[in-house]
């Protein structure tokens, strides 16, 4: 819960709600850019961010993102987070 996972912002999906699509280890997930929205949102497209429970909490560089992902894979946390994302998507559909 506390480790977060790096993702790359691919597109702004909802300007008003500060939402964007992120690529997280090949999985697409909508995230909130609110915590890092210090300037125009469009400037964040292409940036790497550290994502905690769906919120981009810090902008990081590509090298830091790669190292962090590797460390998370070592801890088994990357897989766990991706499963939680899938679980979250499923929860929206369940009746």
């Amino acid at each position: 819960m506390c480790l977060g996972i790096p993702g790359q912002i691919v597109a702004i999906t909802d300007e008003a709600r500060q939402m964007a699509m992120a690529d997280v280890s090949g999985v697409r997930r909508e995230v909130s850019l609110a915590p890092v929205a210090l300037g125009p949102l469009a400037d964040l497209v292409g940036a790497w961010v550290l994502i905690h429970v769906g919120f981009a909490m810090a902008v990081i560089d590509a090298e830091e993102a790669a190292a962090t992902l590797e460390a998370l894979r070592g801890l088994g946390e990357a897989q766990e987070t991706l499963e939680q994302m899938a679980e979250g998507a499923k929860a929206l559909e369940d009746q």
Partner: protein, 376 residues
């Protein structure tokens, strides 16, 4: 050095381990008279066990595992409150998966779900918001859990719900803060702590200054650390060097991610939505002053405690039979010394919360070597 080869930079790791050994010798740390370093964050606990760092470094260094695993410190009565809310008709109860197996006095959320309550594991409070939009006839409750790393996410979600006028969304707030339990542990005359490895991602939100009191008032060093093995080793070395040089400072090993003053937008959202409770109960630690957050009056329409008439009340810590969670939590006992470890209590069937999450000390011991110990 069993695991060093799998580090991203084994050479740097070996150099750090050697340097740690030298400084530990200079201090005079031995297995009998070790230096006690507490890693506060559960993510660090997990990494220390995963990479066997406690075995790799000088034998005069003893890691004390801190209270930084949110599901581990959640009082059983709060799990009971979750179950009570989830069992109400018309409620969709949403939670992080970590919290599903935490035992309550009656049942866990997993058991409540099996018994028919509409409980859904989500990745983010954003998923709960979306569920509320899609199910206007239902009350969607999000179980707000965690330290300052996750607190901004629920604060920002509540602000968003307020902007949209989404009134069928609420948060059952159990957010807690890091500095207060550290103060409580430092005030505990039974605790021997010589220095701290500080949490990286909590600090990304709050910055490094909330730890100033540790250095100023208690004269203990603290180094905010990243969670790669190299980060942890370097931070341990920085703590030891401070001890050797008679210093007590707040240092930031993880400056590449942790700004000195934290994340201003997140801090503003937290301040807008939450206020401190006078006190809050921690499993194993008891009640700690000003260590928990609740939703401010202006957002009470999104407060599940208000909506469901559930107040915060301290409950006597009714721990399961023969469980030593409290002693393990305060570092007085190793997990393997608990009579339930590996017998009544395993990750699949946890008795205590420390066995539930990969960030809990008991689960970490079990996963990375403890199973072997129990079998012996």
């Amino acid at each position: 050095m069993r695991y060093v080869e799998e580090f991203r930079d084994p050479k740097a790791a070996k150099a750090l381990i050697a340097a740690i050994g030298r400084v530990a010798d200079q201090i005079g740390a031995t297995r009998e008279k070790p230096v006690h370093i507490m890693e506060i964050c559960g993510g660090h606990t997990h990494a220390i066990f995963r990479y066997g760092l406690d075995k790799l470094v000088h034998e005069g260094i003893e890691f004390i595992h801190g209270p930084g695993c949110p599901v581990c410190v959640l009082p059983m009565s709060r799990v009971d409150d979750c179950v009570t809310i989830a069992e109400r008709a018309g409620v969709i109860f949403t939670t992080f998966g970590d919290a599903m197996r935490v035992p309550g006095t009656r049942k866990s959320l997993l058991q409540a779900k099996a018994d028919g309550a509409d409980i859904r594991m989500v990745y983010s409070p954003l998923d709960a918001l979306e569920l509320a939009r899609r199910n206007p006839g239902k009350e969607v409750v999000f179980f707000g859990l965690g330290f300052e790393t996750t607190t901004p996410s629920t604060a920002l979600s509540i602000q968003q719900a307020a902007r949209e006028g989404l009134t069928n969304f609420s948060v059952f707030c159990n957010h807690i803060t890091v500095p207060e339990p550290i103060k409580a542990l430092l005030d505990d005359p039974h605790m021997v702590l010589d220095g701290f490895v500080g949490p990286g991602h909590v600090s990304m939100v709050i910055g490094v200054h909330p730890y100033d009191f540790i250095a100023r008032d208690y004269r203990k060093p603290i180094v905010v650390a990243g969670f790669e093995p190299i980060d942890l080793l370097q931070s341990v070395l920085m703590v030891l060097e401070q001890i050797r040089d008679g210093k007590a400072e707040v240092q930031n090993q993880y400056a590449r991610v942790v700004p000195e003053h934290g994340n201003p937008i997140s801090l503003a959202a937290i301040a807008d939505v939450y206020e401190r409770r006078p006190r809050f109960a921690w499993r194993g630690l008891g009640e700690i002053d000003a260590s928990g957050l609740r939703i401010r009056e202006k957002y009470l329409a999104w407060d599940a405690e208000t909506k469901f008439g559930i107040g915060y009340a301290a409950s006597p810590d009714d721990e399961p039979e023969g469980c030593e969670c409290a002693a393990v939590m305060t570092g007085r006992l190793k997990p393997t010394a608990c009579p339930q470890f590996g017998r009544g209590c395993k990750p699949e069937t946890p008795l205590g919360a420390l066995m539930v999450s990969s960030e809990g000390a008991c689960a970490a011991y079990w996963t990375y070597g403890g199973a072997r110990v129990a079998a012996e």
